[in-house]
Every structure is written in C-alpha cells, then in structure tokens.
C-alpha cells in the first residue's frame, strides 16, 4: 500500500514524458500542440495529487463546527489558474498554426524548414 | 422492504454496468460503422438508465434522486440525438451499411 501512494507521481512522470516526446519527435504542428496540452495536464495531476488528504473531502465547509477533514484548497486554486493558462496557450498556438498553414501550405515542421531554407 | 430495495438497486447497477460493458465490446468487435453504432447505443440508453435508476433507489426520496433523474432525462434526450447526428453524418459522407468499404474515398474516414 505504501508503494501505491506513489503511483500518482509515476503517472505524472509518464504523462509528462509522453507529452514531451510528442513535442520533440512529432513534426506535425497540431500534434505538437496536443503534446503540449498532455505535458501541461501532467503538472495539473501532480499538484492535485499533492492536495489530497486521506479520508478528506472537497474543501467546502458547510458546517464550520463539524470536525471534518478537508483536502488542501491551495493547489486546487493554483491549478484552476494553470488550466486556464493552458487553454490560452493552446488557442494562441492554434491561431499561429492556421496562419502558418496559410503562408506555407503545410503544417509539418520539417517541410516548413525545407521551405525556409530554400527562400 | 429495505433489503428488497437494496437488492433491486444492486441488481440494476450490476445489470447497467453489464450493458455498458457489452456496448463497449460491441463497439470494438462489430464489423462496420453502423453495427458498431448500434452496439454502442446500449452504453447511452439502457446502461445509464439502469445505473441511474439503481442510484436513485439507493438514495431514496431526496434531492439526490431529483438530480439523478434530471441527469437521466438529459442523457435520454442527448444520447439518441448524438447517435442520430453521427449516423446521418456517416450516411451523408457516403458510408454504406453492411460492407467495410466506403463509397466516397474520403481520406478522413477512419478505416473500419
């Protein structure tokens, strides 16, 4: 059971690296952006995992006198922010991809580089 | 009475889960697009009906039951609509039932 308490960290590592792999090794720009969002989601999972308390519930205190255990609200707040940052980055990235497609007629990184070298 | 209700609700829960599972297997194993859709429609009709019904029985007469029923109502409206839209889109795109081939050679279509 002790070891299972680390499973979240490993999934975080795995997701992070899958996203990173897509970012580096894939040539398609949309694929890169999808990789980027997996990469960022991994971090969300890390923070939210930190927030969990054994036997706790979501930090909504309906009755301040009751002795309840609550999970940590702070990482959740940080990740709310980070999720919004993530979608903003994706949206801006997509707009750039659309413009690149119009200018180069392709969204494959290696082909774009070839076109750039030619000019 | 309570035991009967509990047993009934668990039976519904297990049954619902089973139908969802069958739907999933069907979506993987069926030969072409339309039969796959036919199988997977189990997962958004009978499956949730039974699961949510079981949950409603578990919670008794309370606010939760109302919420569960609202979810069920929502699913019963949207599920078939989505299935219809999907099927219609497929037929407009030129997908022929009963075979693995497509009339239009649109590269976007996933291979069956």
């Amino acid at each position: 059971m002790e070891i299972l308490g680390l499973y979240n960290y490993w999934v975080f590592g795995a997701l992070l690296m899958i996203g990173f792999f897509a970012l580096i090794a894939r040539q398609n720009l949309v694929k890169k952006l999808l990789g980027l969002s997996i990469f960022q989601s991994a971090v969300f999972l890390l923070y939210i995992s930190l927030a969990k308390v054994e036997g706790g519930t979501a930090p909504i205190i309906l009755d301040p006198t009751a002795a309840e255990i609550f999970s940590n609200p702070l990482p959740q707040v940080l990740i709310l922010t980070a999720i919004v940052v993530g979608i903003s980055t994706t949206a801006l990235g997509l707009a750039i991809v659309v413009r690149i497609r119009e200018a180069y007629d392709t969204i494959e990184d290696d082909e774009i580089r070839r076109l750039d070298r030619r000019s | 009475m309570a035991i009967v209700l509990d047993a009934l609700s668990w039976a519904m829960l297990v049954g619902g889960a089973l139908f969802v599972l069958i739907g999933g297997i069907g979506a993987l194993r069926m030969p072409d697009f339309f039969t796959r859709m036919h199988a997977s429609s189990l997962t958004d009709s009978l499956g949730p009906m039974l699961v949510l019904g079981g949950l409603a029985l578990q919670s008794g007469w309370s606010l939760e039951t109302v919420k569960v029923l609202a979810i069920l109502l929502f699913l019963l409206i949207t599920g078939p609509t989505a299935t219809y839209a999907l099927g219609h889109a497929a037929s407009v795109a030129g997908l022929k039932g009963g075979t693995r081939e497509y009339r239009a050679s649109d590269p976007r279509e996933p291979r069956a």
């Binding site: 690296m17 792999f21 090794a25 999808l34 930090p59 999720i83 919004v84 949206a91 | 996933p110």
Partner: protein, 328 residues
C-alpha cells in the same frame, strides 16, 4: 475499492495519452484528447478537487475540443507519414531518463494523502480555519481564489484576455475587419437542415445557459465560479452558432460586444481592486467595500467572479468566431 478505481483511471490516462501521440489522423487525436480531459476531470474528482474537475471538463473537454476542431477545419487533418522518423530514438532515451529521475525522487516524496505532508501543515490549514471567520463562505477554493490569492486570479483573467487579443490579432491579418459578419460562413448549412439535432439543441441551449448562471452565482457555496460559468455559457452560445449559423449568433452578440465583454470583465476586476485602494485598503482588499469587512469580502468576491465570467465568455466566443470566420 476506491484505490483500485483510481489506479485504473490513472492508468487509462497513460493509455489515452499514448494513443493521442500515436494516432495519425488528427481528428481522432483531437477526440482522444477530449476523452483524456474527461478522464483527467474524473481523476481530479476522486482527488477531492471538485472545482478543478468542473473546470477541466468544461474547458479541457469542451472549449478546447471545439477550438481544435475549428482549427482543423483550416488545416490538413492527416499527419504525414515518413519513411524514417527523425529524432525518435534520441528523444525516447531522453524522456526515459527524465522519467527515471522523477520516479527516483518520488521515493523521497510524501505519500499521496499523507495528512502529515508539509503541504497540509503549513499555510493550507490557515485557509481552512480562517475562511469561515474572515470571509464566511463555504467554498474555501473560491475564497482563496477570489480573495487570498486574488492577485493571481487577476493575472489569470489577463492571460485569457491576452490570448483573445492575440488570436484576434493573428486571425485578422489580411482582412478588412476584426470579425467580418456579413458573410454567411460555411458552418451555416451543417446542422440547420438536420431536424432532430436542431430541435433538441434549441431545447437544450436555455438549460445550458441557466446552468452556467447557476455555476456563476453558486460558486461561493459549491463548486463553480466565473471560469467554469464562462466556459459553460460560451459552450451554450457556440452550440447556438452551430445550430443557427454563425451569422445568427453574431447578430445576437456582435463582435464588438464580445470584445467589449472580454475587456469589460477584465476591467471590472481591476477596477474593484482600484476601488479598494481609493477606499483606503490595499489593492484587492475587499474588506473596505462595506462597513463590515466580512460583507465587504463577499461583495468583492461576487463582483470579481462576475468580471471573470464576463471576460471568459467574451474571450472564448471571440476566439471561436475568429477561427470560424477565417476562410480556407
């Protein structure tokens, strides 16, 4: 039982992520990434993060998928296959090494859920203890988001606004206006002629918007708040645009109004902060907004959440229309 379930859900995340990277058809990759977001939301829910789960579901699975599809309509949808993939082996080695380093360090990290972990002993208990007293709203996440760390949230609204301004700027290149709305776009005919989706969609839209408003104004008591509400309302209006056509949606909410909403929301947030300064408090110190500091905090949080909701709705809709209006 719940442990097994969460392990299963976590493993599914990894499987889905691999499927996204491997799939060559970008449409299926986008759909898979919507599934990925929903799975992520489920995981967040199991980890007690109801607010985050709601946001991930609305933003990650909803809005993000719509934007990706909107962009795919303007780009090729098939990843080109190559005989020899570049950089794959070297990258695999690198990522494996980093993964091993992360796993190695994990053995020194507190177990998930350990109540004695440093994160649960410092700062966070203060929020849980002081919120009922200082702000007196049940949802501590909203209290931290809106007041204790309200400056971060202000920054977040501006991140969204910056992205909106950026997308409008990029996609208005080489055309007369920011969002031309005379033209009837190609999305017009896609759903209008389909009777069943059309009718069902029209029935659903008011409920979606109503739910959005509920999430907006119930954020102090339950999971929810401006971001989630903004995303949900934007989703409802996007559905309207898909059913009735871009032109109809832009007639109801013209581009200038949308940009105005985005800008007005962000400014509302900032001006609440400035008002606090003028009334003698620090920036974003809502206590001075009313005679009683606790009431002041509540007023402040409601106002800034409203600003957030307006800004997010306006920005997301502007971005959606900007993509939809860009002809191939």
């Amino acid at each position: 039982m719940i442990v097994v379930f969460s392990l299963f859900l976590l493993s599914l995340l990894v499987v889905t992520a691999i499927a996204i990277v491997r799939s060559e058809n970008l449409f299926s990759a986008v759909m898979l990434s919507g599934i990925f977001s929903l799975l992520m939301a489920l995981n967040f829910f199991i980890l007690d993060a109801a607010d985050v789960a709601l946001t991930e579901a609305a933003v990650g699975a909803g809005v993000s998928t719509v934007l990706l599809l909107g962009a795919l309509a303007l780009t090729p949808t098939e990843e080109r296959r190559r005989k020899r993939e570049r950089k794959v082996a070297a990258t695999l080695v690198t990522v494996t090494m980093i993964f091993l380093a992360i796993s190695y360090a994990s053995f020194d990290q507190p177990r998930i859920g350990d109540p004695d972990a440093p994160v649960h002993r410092h700062v966070a208990p203060w929020y849980l203890e002081q919120t009922p007293e200082l702000i007196d709203i049940p949802n501590v996440v909203t209290a931290v988001l809106g007041s204790f760390r309200g400056y971060d949230t202000l920054g977040e609204v501006y991140v969204v606004l910056t992205a909106g301004i950026g997308v409008l700027f990029l996609l208005s290149a080489g055309r007369p206006g920011l969002l031309p709305h005379r033209r009837e776009p190609r999305i017009e005919s896609s759903l209008k002629s389909h009777l069943i989706p059309h009718v069902v969609g029209r029935v659903l839209i008011p409920f979606i918007v109503l739910f959005g408003l509920y999430v907006q104004f119930h954020g102090e008591y339950g999971p929810g708040g401006g971001f989630q509400a903004g995303a949900i309302i934007a989703a409802g209006i996007i559905l309207f645009a898909l059913l009735e056509g871009e032109g109809a949606a832009l007639k109801v909410l013209p581009p200038r109004v949308l940009v105005g909403l985005a800008i007005g929301g962000a400014l509302l947030y900032l001006l609440v902060g400035v008002a606090c300064m003028l009334l003698g408090g620090n920036f974003l110190d809502y206590s001075v907004l009313a005679a009683d500091p606790v009431t002041g905090q509540q007023i402040g949080i409601i106002l800034i959440e409203l600003g957030v909701g307006l800004a997010v709705t306006g920005t997301l809709l502007s971005i959606f229309h900007a993509f939809a209006a860009r002809e191939q």
